[in-house]
Amino acid sequence: MTVLQLDRISKQFGQFQALNQVSMELKQGEIYGFIGPNGAGKSTTIRIILGMLQATSGSATLFGKDVWRDAAEVHKRCAYVPGDVNVWPNLTGGEVIDVLLKMNGIYDKKKRDHWIERLQFDPSKKSRSYSKGNRQKIALIAAFASNADLFILDEPTSGLDPLMEHVFQQGVQEVKDNGKTVLLSSHILSEVEKLCDRVAIIRQGEIIEQGSLKDMRHLTRMHIMVETRYPLHELEQYKGIYDVEEQGNILHFQMDAEQTEPVMQYLSQQGIIRLESSPPKLEDLFMRHYEQKGGR
């Protein structure tokens, strides 16, 4: 079932084109990663999905309903955590969590207390005195304690310590196990890699890559470390070989995934003693896209 559908969404701020024909589709039960450099348009996309910005063109639906017109209705099934959380300074954290939950209807008080405990949050302090991470916890608790079907998270861990980040990742996993959907925008690529089923990469307002991490990996380079009986003089003549580094007999290099077959044949002819390959990290994928000038 489709939870979220963006169809050729564009957004213009005056003369500035912030989004250009962005399309994406989230299926129920998946965790969808959304990555891209600063100012690429992630938050703008998310604000359009939440009906806070009106798209200049294109259509966007949540649960089959229009995101702008039916915002109040579809938000009943959504939970949102922004990267920078600010709340009413004179209220306590606990009060704010309650209000946020109440606005979406009835909620489970036990679940709220459970999450307050898990995130080690002190709900009795005035909001003005919380640190950045603690303010973020307010939104996280209000999200995890709700019974939303779609979780929209925009850099939700930018203020959390590693321990809390771990709790957060568990939380997201549990949400997924309950058949809910998650849209996760993040700069922490290891987090995206660990959690997400599919990923979209956005740059300068355009989606430049979209798909499952497994598919994407095919398109990218593997790290190879190899030790052979005979020297590998001809290696660099093969297509799709990069960054060769020699350490005595041992060679480190990167290889385009499509070139695996011919290269392996050559290596085995030279007598392999040791061979290690590691899959490409999301970071490599990311770097490759970002470093390119002018897009694909």
Binding site: G14, R47, L50, G51, M52, L53, Q54, A71, A72, E73, H75, K76, C78, A79, Y80, P82, D84, V85, N86, V87, W88, P89, N90, L91, E95, V99, L100, K102, M103, N104, G105, A139, I152
Partner: protein
């Protein structure tokens, strides 16, 4: 309706968030009003004193400042309304502007609205709840004032008048609250929204002043001009209240419409684009500190100059009135001309307005600290001493330059407008004597910044108290000792009083000490934020 969904959860939250602010304002306004009402009976108990008061009220200065005179001087309530209604209305307008700007644009800038809007609430709920809080506050104010005035059971101040007087103030509050909500839609920051709103108060006040003295039509354009035309406690006309509420409803509808179609964080009047590189001015310390507050400083300067020019512009009216009125002539020549008295009175009031930018420039250092921006600056190897010094310099510069510019505007315009203007030495002297008082205020603010940063807002009490003493001191017949608690009161009203080096030098010494001690505290204490 789905546009307003969730308002019932937001309303109590906003009330809780702003309750202390509201309590202070409501208590302060009610207290001052009731004190004045109570004192009226003793001061204007007999007919003769009322007639004397009526006579002074007919003079164009008073009309320009306080609104048209009523003919019914024998009714005590009428006198009271003449003196108190307009300025109370401005105070109520200020309360509403600050409150609404905070609840609407400021909360949106902070990102609170974003968090709320992501829940299942209507697009107008936050705005709607904010306006309801504003409405409730003004209704409460109306109720408190009605009870306060009515229950004193003073002859000439009946319940009907009390209800109308309070409703006029409540109505003004609602009007300016709605106007601020509209400006908050149009512009992108709460600061700009407040500047627009305060600007509107100033313009409407001046329109009314000119209208009341010269072109009556202008007074009907300005809602502040409507107030006096209710003739509270005599005719008791209700149309101004109806007018204020009707205007407020219209403003609200436009505001709701604009909010419902716009993006979050966006406005309709684009903010100016910033420069890419820091200009040469910005790269000096004083330049940076000035730049941060340029809008605040320049808008205050504009407001003060406009007031100066406007008050000088009515000097010819004053002369004409003076010539026509022989009784008054005899009465006044004893202690200086009417013009001199008027200019000195204006000067003492304008100095209080100038106190605001002086104090705000110091408060800004505290604001930057709370917003944790000083951390960035300190980590750039700028010592606390330098930052403190730079802010002090700016406050001192404002305190010295503003009075001079004010004197320029009054004397310059007066010279051309009036037949016989005061000598320029006297006008400038009248302004310069207040500079030490402004420096003491800056010193108090800096001292609080150094030692009691949480209580720094207390410095405003000195200003408010100074205003109360000037505006109501004679009226309330405050004893000399109590008046002298105001720091402005020790300053000689040069040239009608003798210039005193003693006062000036001791003020300068006090302010220097405060600044130095403030620095000692500032260097020792932890940064907030």
């Amino acid at each position: 309706m789905h546009l307003f969904k969730g308002s019932k959860w937001l309303l109590p939250i906003l009330l809780r968030q702003h309750r202390m602010r509201l309590i202070y304002w409501l208590a302060g306004l009610t207290l001052i009003t009731v004190t004045v009402v109570a004192s009226y009976q003793s001061i204007y108990g007999d007919t003769a004193s009322r007639e004397a008061f009526g006579l002074t009220m007919e003079n164009p200065t008073m009309i320009a400042m306080l609104g048209i005179g009523y003919d019914n001087y024998h009714v005590l309530g009428s006198l009271f309304a003449m003196e108190m209604l307009l300025f109370s209305a401005i105070a109520v307008a200020m309360m509403n502007i600050l409150l609404v700007a905070k609840m609407t644009r400021d909360d949106e800038e902070q990102g609170i609205l974003e968090l709320v809007q992501a829940r299942s609430v209507g697009r107008l709920s936050y705005l709607h709840s904010s306006l309801v809080v504003m409405l409730v506050s003004n209704l409460l104010l109306t109720l408190l004032l009605t009870i306060g005035i009515g229950s004193l059971q003073i002859d000439g101040m009946n319940w009907h008048g009390a209800v109308l007087y309070s409703s006029l103030l409540g109505g003004t509050g609602i009007f300016f609250g709605c106007l601020t909500a509209l400006f908050s839609q149009l512009v992108e920051t709460s600061r700009t929204s407040m500047i627009f709103s305060f600007g509107a108060v100033l313009i409407l006040y001046l329109l009314r002043a000119i209208g009341d003295v010269e072109f009556t039509a202008l007074s009907y354009i300005s809602p502040l001009g409507w107030l006096a035309r209710a003739y509270v406690f005599t005719d008791n006309d209700w149309w101004p209240v109806v007018g204020l509420l009707a205007a407020a409803i219209l403003l609200t509808l436009i505001t709701y419409y604009l909010q419902s179609i716009r993006d979050i964080g966006a406005g309709f009047i684009p903010e100016r684009k910033g420069r890419k590189n820091a200009s040469a001015l910005l790269q000096t310390k004083l330049g940076l500190v000035f730049h941060l507050q340029k809008t605040m400083i320049l808008s205050w300067l504009a407001g003060i100059l406009i007031m100066g020019i406007a008050s000088a512009a009515i000097l010819p009216e004053l002369e004409k009135f003076f010539q026509d009125n022989e009784a008054l002539q005899a009465f006044l020549t004893a202690n200086g001309s009417l013009m001199e008295q008027f200019i000195l009175l204006m000067m003492s009031i304008m100095i209080i307005f100038i106190s605001a930018p002086v104090i705000m420039s110091v408060l800004r250092l505290h604001g930057e600290e709370k917003a944790q921006r000083t951390e960035v600056i300190y980590s750039k190897a700028l010592s606390r001493a330098k930052l403190y010094r730079t802010y002090t310099w700016l406050a001192v510069l404002i305190a010295c330059i503003f009075p001079l510019l004010l004197a320029c505007s009054i004397w310059g315009v007066g010279f051309f407008a009036a037949d016989e203007m005061m000598a320029w030495e006297e006008v400038f002297g009248a302004a310069i004597v207040y500079i030490p008082a402004l420096l003491v205020l800056a010193g108090i603010a800096l001292f609080l910044l150094g030692w009691l940063p949480k209580l720094i807002s207390l410095v405003w009490l000195f200003v408010i108290y100074g205003f109360v003493v000037i505006y109501l001191g004679d009226l309330l017949d405050l004893p000399k000792g109590i008046k002298l608690l105001s720091i402005y009161e020790h300053i000689p009203m040069y040239p009608s009083e003798d210039f005193s080096w003693g006062v000036i030098l001791s003020y300068l010494l006090i302010s220097a000490l405060l600044i130095v001690f403030g620095f000692v505290g500032y260097r020792r204490r932890d940064m907030e934020g």
